[in-house]
């Protein structure tokens, strides 16, 4: 395996060297993406700057996220009722950033469950997610001082098939009636099937996703929903680590830049209607800067 990897690295290095030679004539940088590189650098600078500020003791205030506060309540309820907590980390692999954000929330859920002595069940649709979730939950139980209570069999692989996974989860929910269902990750058509099944068994439900098309379904069927950005902020909110909170502030600065660009674009588009000579500037703005 190591030999194979080394060969791959050498081959890749050769390919890069060959491509670099070709690129010398065509330019090293994709000039069409230069404005985006500028925006990316601004964003990186903003995030790194605020992480540094937060690490040096600067105060960062984050508004309360109701959905995340509800997690403790949900786990507590499950403990009182003697039932389990079902955690669904979406149907995508660990290469999907939403899955990683979901795993972060799982860490908090597992820690709370360890403290309350509640059972957290995590059926997954991807094997790499299973491995990651196991590591995370084990770490959370250790942090809660309950390493003995960790049971890796509760985090298991079901199937990669979207509707096979949904069929398993729906059946399991109806049979075992978990007291709380937490959906955090990337979801597609299965979002409403899961959330409605959870609703029908009277479970307290918290969802979080960055799939805009699925958000209305979760909002309609769940008690709390983390909408896109809130879902990504969950990691910082839950960890309370200055570095992570600082990144949220950097994100706000980037949002301000987006706000300014949208305002400038709207003004320019309006002005172009009255002053046709501004058409060139408008084309540059929409075609090059935003394109």
């Amino acid at each position: 395996m190591a030999c194979f990897s080394l060969t791959s690295v050498l081959l890749a290095a050769e390919e890069v060297a060959a491509a670099a030679e070709t690129a010398e004539s065509s330019g090293l940088l994709n000039m069409d993406r230069l404005p985006l590189l500028g925006v990316a650098l601004f964003f990186i600078f903003a995030v790194v700057y605020w992480i540094t500020v937060a690490r040096s003791g600067g105060e960062i205030k984050v508004r309360e996220i109701a959905g995340l506060k509800a997690i403790e309540e949900a786990v507590g309820r499950a403990t009182e009722m003697g039932r389990s907590v079902l955690f669904v980390p979406g149907i995508q692999d660990v290469s999907e950033i939403q899955t990683i954000a979901g795993i972060t929330v799982l860490s908090k859920v597992a820690k709370t469950a360890a403290e309350y002595d509640a059972k957290v069940e995590v059926p997954v649709a991807r094997t790499l997610v299973m491995v990651t979730a196991r590591e995370t939950v084990q770490e959370a139980f250790l942090a809660a001082g309950r390493p003995d209570a960790y049971n890796e069999d509760l985090i298991y692989y079901v199937t990669d098939e979207q509707f096979g996974y949904v069929a398993y989860l729906s059946g399991m929910m109806v049979r075992e009636k978990p007291a709380a269902c937490i959906y955090m990750g990337c979801f597609y058509a299965e979002s409403l099937i899961l959330a409605e099944t959870g609703n029908s068994i009277g479970a307290i439900q918290v969802a979080g996703t960055a799939m805009p098309a699925q958000l209305p379904f979760f909002v309609a069927a769940c008690d709390y929903t983390l909408i896109g950005e809130e879902f990504y902020a969950a990691s910082a909110y839950l960890s309370e680590s200055p570095a992570e909170l600082g990144s949220l502030k950097g994100q706000d600065l980037a949002k301000l830049l987006a706000f300014i660009l949208i305002g400038a674009g709207a003004l320019l588009a309006t002005a172009t209607q009255f002053v046709p000579s501004l058409q060139g500037a408008f084309d540059f703005f929409t075609g090059t800067l935003l394109g």
Binding site: L37, T127, M130, A195, L215
Partner: protein, 234 residues
Amino acid sequence: MLKRTIPMLLAMAAGIVMILAYFFPWLTPLQDQTTVWFNILAAVAFILGGGNLLKVHLKKVSDRREGWAYSMITLAAFVGVLVIGLFKLGVNPLDDFPAQRMAGDFRAEGSGFWYVYEYVFAPLTATIFSMLAFYVASAAFRAFRAKNFEAILLLSTAFVILLGRTAAGVFLTDFLPEEGMLANFRLENLTVWIMNNPVTAGNRAIMIGIALGTASVSLKILLGVDRSYLGGGD
């Protein structure tokens, strides 16, 4: 070191390559190579998944836990399809190699695997998917209860959209002219306006937040600030 630092460095290196390759075209081969590595890793993980599936369900059956019969069905289906696929049962040989049945494509029309897919798997998947229609109805019924101002607004907008997308909507406002100011109030036009303006604006606001959130989380992972994917901790 082996459990945290090296995986973190690998993740950082792969992430940085992916970002840089977007701006610097000469890094594209390295980006492709990184993707291939992930695919290899995911393929190996399939074995892990199969093993875990067998372990969980065999344990359930052996312990006679509640619902063990479902586990039996799962195990039978798993082993059955695996045998059909691996041994290429029912596969027609290729024209070039009529004596070599194993040379045929296991997914080709008429093969055992194809039959399982077409006549068992596809109908089952379609059944689960079709349940969505009923869930949409029950969720809509709950969401559209006019209990406060926001819910009334949601209900009236949904009512306009639903009507505007049906023949009844067109019929109801047919008396309005097709041109001029009043044409905007025809239900089919009102629907298009709602979808193109308030809905798109709201959607884009969410999309901008999501895009920034995605970039921020990615950056935290690249900088090693967020290590939750390694099991958390410092």
